[in-house]
């Protein structure tokens, strides 16, 4: 084997930096913990938690209108709170708010509520005609994240990256 593979959260951190996404807002999530930790530890990023996902969309949109690129990190249930503000702010005003969702509710979910609300995520993204991709493999992560960011900024369109348990390991409990 060659050198040890870079972890998924290291790949994402580097791609965010390379694309000048310096503002990172998030609602904490256990699966995202290594990514949040890496970003918080890096002085390049302005990173902080928000009280609610809607608020993060507003902050990222306001920052972009001021000339700063940003992203909002959350889990599936948090995304489910966002349809109205995504439709009426970044979609309507053509603002490239980038969302990154740690996917709960599938591939070993233990919480019925998460399993149910997960089913609404892709239909909502499709209904809003939002570009979205699900990252499942480490060897595809850099390409998918980088190209999604570039396209969002180039076309002034919001986008969503879903991080599958296949990539992150997800969150499980013993049965």
């Amino acid at each position: 084997m060659a050198e040890a593979a870079t972890a998924w959260h290291e790949v994402i951190t580097e791609v965010l930096r390379r694309n000048e996404v310096s503002l990172v807002t998030y609602v904490p999530d256990n699966v995202l913990r290594p990514l949040i930790g890496a970003i918080e530890a890096d002085p390049y990023f302005t990173a902080f938690p928000v009280a609610r996902e809607e608020e993060g969309v507003g902050i990222v949109c306001g920052a972009w209108m001021g000339g700063m690129r940003g992203i909002l990190l959350m889990q599936t249930s948090g995304f489910a709170t966002l349809a109205n503000v995504i439709a009426s702010l970044p979609c309507a005003a053509q603002i490239p708010a980038v969302l990154m969702v740690s996917e709960r509710g599938t591939l070993g979910e233990f919480n019925l509520g998460q399993a149910l609300v997960c089913r609404t995520m892709r239909p909502v993204l499709d209904a809003l005609a939002m570009e979205h991709h699900t990252v499942t493999r480490l060897d595809e992560a850099e390409f998918m994240v980088e190209r999604t960011l570039r396209q969002a900024f180039a076309t002034q369109a919001p986008a969503c990256l879903i991080l599958s348990p296949l990539l992150t390991g997800g969150k499980t409990v013993k049965a």
């Binding site: 503002l23 609610r52 209108m65 001021g66 000339g67 702010l89 053509q94």
Partner: protein, 197 residues
């Protein structure tokens, strides 16, 4: 609570005009409904953003903008019903403590645009300035009258924020509305604040 109930009930359009008259290159984020309608009616400025949807996000948008352009002051104009939907943002603002941000709350106690139904906060006599202060925004004040509103705005233009100004207002509807073209509004704002063009 006393401060709230001693504050004079003023007129949002009158006060919006008084605010705008003091501005140079400051950004203003007008919240959903009458907050941005009165901003528009006070005379369009390239540095104005008129938020047509996303109820409750005027202050978060202003926070994001304040972080992106720390050298430019930004005002958020938000209604009481809108803020009630997103009270958590006050803690976030307090945590980031942007020196260039001022939130102005128009408190008429009703959801004016949907038929003037009273808000739960009005019925419960909730004090938004007390909430702001308890959220960590120490420079939070009710404007007792028009003169104090102007002096609080002057202080926010001269000093280091974040600031929160609570204003009791009547239920006069707005006299004009901006054109409902969100991408055009966004593009105009970005050019007005030097982010584009």
């Amino acid at each position: 609570m006393e401060a709230l109930h001693n504050a004079k009930v003023m007129n949002r359009f009158d006060l919006t005009k008084r605010l705008v008259a003091k501005l140079k290159d400051e950004a203003v984020i007008g919240g959903i409904g009458n907050s941005n309608f009165d901003l528009w009616a006070s005379g369009h400025r390239p540095q104005n953003f008129y938020m047509l949807g996303s109820m409750g996000l005027a202050a978060p948008i202003a926070l994001g903008f304040a972080l992106a352009q720390p050298q430019r002051r930004v005002f958020a104009l938000e209604g009481d019903g809108s803020l009630l939907m997103q009270l958590g943002c006050l803690s976030t603002i307090a945590t980031r403590a942007p020196r260039n941000l001022c939130v102005i709350l128009w408190d008429n106690g009703v959801y004016q645009i949907t038929g003037s139904q009273p808000t739960p906060a009005a019925t419960a006599r909730t004090d938004f300035v007390a909430i702001a202060r308890a959220s960590g925004l120490s420079q939070s004040h009710w404007a007792a009258d028009e003169a104090e509103f102007e002096s609080l705005v002057d202080a926010s233009l001269a000093g280091e924020g974040p600031f929160f100004i609570g204003v009791r207002v009547d239920s006069q509807p707005a006299v004009a509305q901006p054109e409902r073209d969100p991408s055009r509004i966004r593009d105009s704002f970005m050019r007005g604040v030097g982010s584009k063009g």
